[in-house]
């Protein structure tokens, strides 16, 4: 029993996001089901980009996921949600500078609407850059190593 619990726990702890602001890094998704299922239409966004309550909301409304059906079987959905919550920006009660400006009573759903994201993308990104990227969800259009957790531009 303990053996089955230990590996996932160690794994979850290894995945705790550490944002080194000078290096623009965020631990990428490593959980297999999350990586596989959540990268079908966009890069699997690091769990550390949103608070736990946001991941819960997103995972429980997959039938209408930003305008499309992204539904999953119940077991996979639960497994992915557990991983995201365990590695969220506020997991274990920690505070993250990525949650600055986020009203604790609100549940942000779009990473691109968060204060830190808007701050990072408001000055250096031209209209032509946005046209080329097609969508704010398309990190890798500009951040070539985003899937490995590097967001230096």
């Amino acid at each position: 029993m303990t053996r089955h619990f230990l590996a996932p726990l160690v794994f979850a702890m290894l995945s705790i996001p550490i944002l080194a602001s000078a290096q623009e890094r965020m631990s990428p998704v490593t959980h297999p089901a999350t990586l596989s299922e959540c990268s079908a239409c966009h890069m699997a966004f690091p769990a550390g980009f949103l608070p736990a309550r946001s991941w819960v909301e997103i995972m429980s409304t997959l039938d209408n996921h930003f305008g499309e059906n992204a539904g999953l079987d119940a077991a996979t959905q639960a497994e992915i949600q557990a991983y995201l919550v365990a590695n969220a920006a506020d997991a274990g009660g920690r505070s993250s500078r990525l949650l600055r400006g986020v009203d604790p009573a609100s549940t942000p759903l779009r990473i691109s609407e968060m204060q830190w994201w808007k701050g990072e993308h408001s000055h250096e990104v031209s209209a032509r850059d946005w046209e080329r990227a097609k969508s704010p969800a398309n990190c890798v259009a500009c951040h070539r190593d985003a899937e490995r957790g590097y967001f230096e531009d």
């Binding site: 290894l14 990586l35 059906n69 969508s135």
Partner: protein, 130 residues
């Protein structure tokens, strides 16, 4: 060590396709369920048409897959979708669970309902014939 682990896991995370079926087997299965003979022409028409009842951003299969299934498509997120035509992309229609998952999602998005076995048969008949 952590980096190696991460990369290894990323590489192995993608399950690939189960390769537990073929386009012909899927067409036969769905057509038998529906009690019809599959029609590629009907499948093509369904693929191209604008539908009502689905979600506003996805009125047609062609919205994301384009009107040329041999070409790359694009999701609304800007991510590229591999071609649907089996002649160009032999991995298509070789994994039953994958096919069912995406019919479940995309028929709801485009049609606002499940696709019927007849529709699935016609759809795959067309995409495996071009």
């Amino acid at each position: 060590m952590k980096a190696v682990l991460t990369v290894a896991l990323a590489l192995f995370a993608n399950p690939g396709f189960a390769q537990d079926t073929t386009p012909a087997q899927l067409v036969a299965k769905y057509a038998a369920e529906a009690g019809i003979t599959a029609s590629a022409e009907t499948g093509k028409a369904m693929f191209m048409a604008m539908q009502v009842g689905g979600k506003p951003d996805t009125p047609s299969c062609s919205t994301c897959h384009t009107e040329n299934p041999k070409a790359m498509g694009m999701a609304r997120t800007g991510k590229v979708i591999e071609p649907m035509a089996a002649s160009v992309n032999p991995a298509r229609f070789t994994d039953t669970a994958f096919v069912e998952k995406w019919f479940g999602r995309n028929c709801d998005s485009v049609f606002g309902r499940e696709c019927s076995p007849a529709e699935k048969a016609n759809f795959i008949a067309w995409l495996s014939s071009i």
